[in-house]
């Protein structure tokens, strides 16, 4: 599940976005940071003399949780700072629950649901109505969920809520809008090999989970073409039987809002539990994999394995180890590959931590073609070093400081508190998960780091994927000494009659 967005999600077909106007000091991969420098005794450290007063008292406002008799859960989060009201309904089931022959169905559903509209108001009329009020209703899908969300000025919120409920309960899927969505999807498919980073992302995950795994299988022109209007309606009818989670935030009267939400959802039949999943996660076949792309001068290197999920009691120690390995400016990967060797702008990585299935272990580095082998070796050495280069007190303390002193930013706005509660409800985690997690982080000791490194870091089980310009990569990849190089074919299957021209 992802936080519900008010706006349609990015579809990166290559817009000349803001990033083309801006260079930044750190790349997207460096998410959080920590340190390992050896401090000198002579340094006067004037910053350490600056007093750090006690933090102002803060009790983040929890949303009100209401469980309806049918099992639907509602969260109401009042926030009167600005005259807006927003809401969302999170619906279990996503792309991992779709048959392989129809991969892409959730993307099409997410687009066509909203653009089709309802019997009372079709999608185009809805666009006019909403945009005139600077309001939004959007729908979308993800790997494990779909969602409808809305947002408007307070004065328009009754109308917008009613419209959102009409779209939720009475969509009228429209063939033309499905075709429009198919064209958009087809455009994404035929363009997917233009973007080097996109290729690396996608193929790295396929190495971890398998090319036909529910978590990685990709839409193809044929599978998108196979999706019918009836499929969208059937998906909708089926997923609406699940445990819906409703979240509302903003400038509303809580009594009136509760009554309104009850009226909309209380009449639904009891929710049906989602069937348990029986996925298998074997992890990648170790070795070196290569994808040739001759219009680039930089290699994208991904080193991948299997990660874990957040129910694992080792997660706090793994999170601290992640900070030490690849969290940011002070991490071993950043310090070595970027700061010391100057071989990369973007470098980082760590164990992925998902909520209900094992995420991936992933380290990545982007480096000029000629330094591909050097940078890959340096990154591999830092990963292996988790088992051979002892963690220091300095590293441990700084990693914990980094995570804990910025922990506040997980709940510093009411919307973040609401989103966290919805997430925990969706995955069936206790409401005090963040507190438990924080307490776990505080307790992590050096011995825990050594133990999780031993338990989870297995360099011989990792796969190395290089996307880059073959002829420029010199020394060549066999100098990695990790066995034969396996070339991956990423050519796009062309069905006899592409979905994109079905009109």
């Amino acid at each position: 599940m992802r936080n519900v967005q008010m706006k349609q999600n990015e579809r990166n077909l290559g817009s000349p976005r803001r990033d083309l106007r801006r260079q930044t000091v750190i790349g997207a991969l460096c998410l959080a940071f920590l340190g390992s420098a050896i401090l000198s005794a002579q340094q006067s450290k004037p910053w350490e003399k600056i007093p750090i007063p006690k933090l102002h008292a803060f009790n983040p406002q929890e949303p009100k949780r209401i469980e309806l008799k049918n099992g639907i859960v509602v969260f109401l989060q009042e926030d009167h700072e600005l005259p807006f009201i927003s809401g969302s309904v999170l619906i279990p089931g996503g792309s991992r629950d779709v048959e392989t022959a129809k991969a892409g169905l959730i993307d099409l559903y997410g687009m066509a649901w909203r653009t089709s509209g309802t019997a009372k108001m079709d999608g185009d009329a809805m666009d006019d109505f909403l945009e005139a009020r600077a309001a939004h209703i959007e729908t979308g899908g993800d790997v494990d969920s779909t969602a409808i969300s809305w947002d408007s000025l307070k004065g328009d919120s009754d109308q917008v809520f009613a419209l959102a409920m009409d779209l939720l309960f009475h969509p009228k899927f429209n063939e033309e809008k499905l075709q429009l969505a198919k064209q958009q999807e087809a455009t994404g498919i035929v363009r997917r090999n233009d973007d080097e980073g996109g290729i690396a992302d996608r193929e790295a995950m396929k190495l971890v989970y398998g090319a036909n795994s529910p978590y990685t299988r990709q839409p193809e022109l044929a599978t998108v073409g196979a999706v019918s209007l009836a499929d969208l309606q059937a998906w909708h009818d089926r997923s609406l039987k699940g445990k819906l989670i409703v979240g509302i935030s903003g400038d509303f009267d809580p009594v009136a809002m509760e009554a309104k939400v009850r009226a909309a959802f209380e009449g639904l039949p009891p929710v049906e539990a989602a069937p348990p999943r029986h996925d298998e996660f074997a992890g990648p076949k170790p070795g070196v994999y290569f994808i040739n792309k001759e219009d680039v001068n930089q290699s994208n290197v991904e080193i991948v394995g299997l990660g874990t999920d957040r129910r694992n009691p080792d997660v706090p120690a793994l999170a601290v180890m992640n900070e030490i390995l690849g969290g940011g400016f002070g991490s071993r990967l950043f310090q070595k590959v970027r700061t010391e060797l100057g071989l990369a702008y973007a470098v980082g990585g760590g164990f992925g931590l998902a909520y209900d299935h094992p995420a991936a272990f992933r380290a990545m580095v982007m480096t000029k073609s000629a330094s591909t082998v050097d940078a890959t070796k340096a990154a591999l050495a830092e990963i292996a070093g988790l088992n051979t280069k002892p963690f220091t007190e300095t590293e441990l303390n700084r990693a914990k400081d980094d995570i804990l002193s910025s922990f506040l930013f997980r709940y510093d706005t009411r919307d973040k508190v609401l989103a966290e509660r919805e997430r925990l409800e969706f995955y069936g985690y206790p409401a005090d998960y963040l507190e438990t997690y924080k307490a776990g982080l505080e307790k992590v000791a050096l011995a825990d780091l050594t133990a999780v490194a031993k338990k989870y870091v297995h360099p011989d089980k990792l796969a190395v994927l290089v996307v880059g310009n073959g002829p420029q990569i010199e020394p060549s990849l066999d100098k990695l000494n990790l066995g034969p190089i396996q070339t991956i074919d990423i050519s796009i299957p062309q069905p006899g009659r592409p979905a994109s021209v079905e009109k």
């Binding site: 706006k7 999600n9 990015e10 579809r11 990166n12 077909l13 290559g14 817009s15 976005r17 803001r18 083309l20 106007r21 260079q23 930044t24 000091v25 790349g27 420098a37 401090l39 000198s40 450290k45 910053w47 006690k54 933090l55 803060f58 792309s95 993307d107 997410g110 687009m111 945009e131 005139a132 899908g141 429009l180 064209q183 087809a186 455009t187 994404g188 035929v190 973007d195 080097e196 980073g197 219009d295 001068n297 930089q298 310090q335 970027r338 010391e340 100057g342 990369a344 982007m366 700084r398 400081d401 002193s405 910025s406 930013f409 706005t413 074919d489 990423i490 050519s491 796009i492 994109s500």
Partner: protein, 514 residues
Amino acid sequence: MKSGAFSWFWKSVLVLLLATMSFAIAQGQDLKSFEQRITTKVLPNGVTLIICERPEAPVFSYSTFIDAGDVNDPSGESGLAHMFEHLAFKGTSEIGTKDWPAEKVALAKVEAANDAYEAEYLKPVGRDPKKLAELHKVFVEAQNEAHKYVIPNQFTEVAEANGAHGLNAQTGLDDTQYFWSMPENRLELWAWLESDRLADTVPREFYKERDVVMEERRMRTDSNPIGRLVEQFLATAYVAHNYGRSGVGWPSELSQISATEAMAFHKKYYVGGDIVVAVVGDVKASEAMPMLEKYFSKVPGGPKPEEMTTVEPKQFAEKSVIIREQTQPFYIEGYHRPSYRDPDDAVFDAIQDIMSNGRVSRLYRSLVEQQQIAAEAEGFSPFPGDKYPSLFAFYAVPLPGHTPAEMREAIHKEIDKLKTTDVTDAELQMYKTRARADLLRGLADNQGLASALSEYQTRYGDWRELFLQLDKVDKVTKADIRRVANQVFVASNRTSAEIDTEAPAIAKQDGGTE
């Protein structure tokens, strides 16, 4: 997994960052409430401090806005402002060093070694490869010697260990911004860090960082089809002004920028009069302002540097760029428009909104929904900067089987409509309503607000303009839109660029294109 119809991301980024220059917002009472919560002070050295009290949670965000960017890079030194921005994370004479006096001597030797190497490297005739190799060795050894005194990344580590969240900086053509958020009890620590790095940057590890920035260029520009296209597009659209120059830097220039040049840039542009610092969050101005004043007084004073004299001459011939390669087709075109200070600035915003904002926009309805030839189509402005006369650009992403030529034709039809027929009352009203709501929505975000306040203070000399600009939005008329469209969207003022897909060579394995 992604879904959704087109790049709202681009749009939301525009609204948050770029459009802070143009959309403004909220009614009089909002301005009044902000006036009660905002305190500004101009220090004797010229630095402007802004504090906005928003005690929703015990955190604050800041934005340091420098009125200098890559447009100010001297000739032959493209990419310099951005290189300097990277240097600003390397620490000072007090943080990041084991022994500053000794490190300073070592760094001087690095510069001398670089100068000697560059002199030999640049010899047009008589370059001696053996001597060059020796000089390079000396250069590398000098760096290794200087590195012995470095505590790598100490500046950022101290920030992060104290809860810095979203720490980053960005260099545009017009300006440079530094920003992060922190727990409120670290305000003084932040003030020390920020003022120290503004006032006391040292040329530490410069040449390694230059390699890092070269990788950044490879990632954003060289290895990205749209990055390559846009660099050529801008270089073609401009003949005189630095907006036509690569912002990250041409490889030959970026790879030879020296630490001495970066420090000269700092000396000239990082002076008080060029700097606005805005802090938003759980901060009391009465207590914080005297403390901030103490720290930020360290920044060197000095007048704002002279403004540049170059004005892009009027374009009189249509220009185009065609890239033939094995990537998917793409089309972009741009027309020169005046800077943000032009009285018609809000008219351009109105055109952008009506042409591009959401599924009701003209380009979406025409190219995406009705003609079904594009996956995305939008117009946006100003690009690539806003401080100087820039471009109003349109782009479209063709659906499979459709060509850049079709995009061009369809975009021109929509532009012609703007010129010949008034927009509807509903469209114009929609622009005004959305401009107001978008500004209002941005007010609940500490970081976005800090960025907007520092930017408006710099660009208009008064943060209030963030709110007052709504008056200009309200005054836009249908006649204004027709007039401006007729003035600006003419063939002789146009530069276009496209990718035409070339068939792959036979028997290639890398595939990916039709």
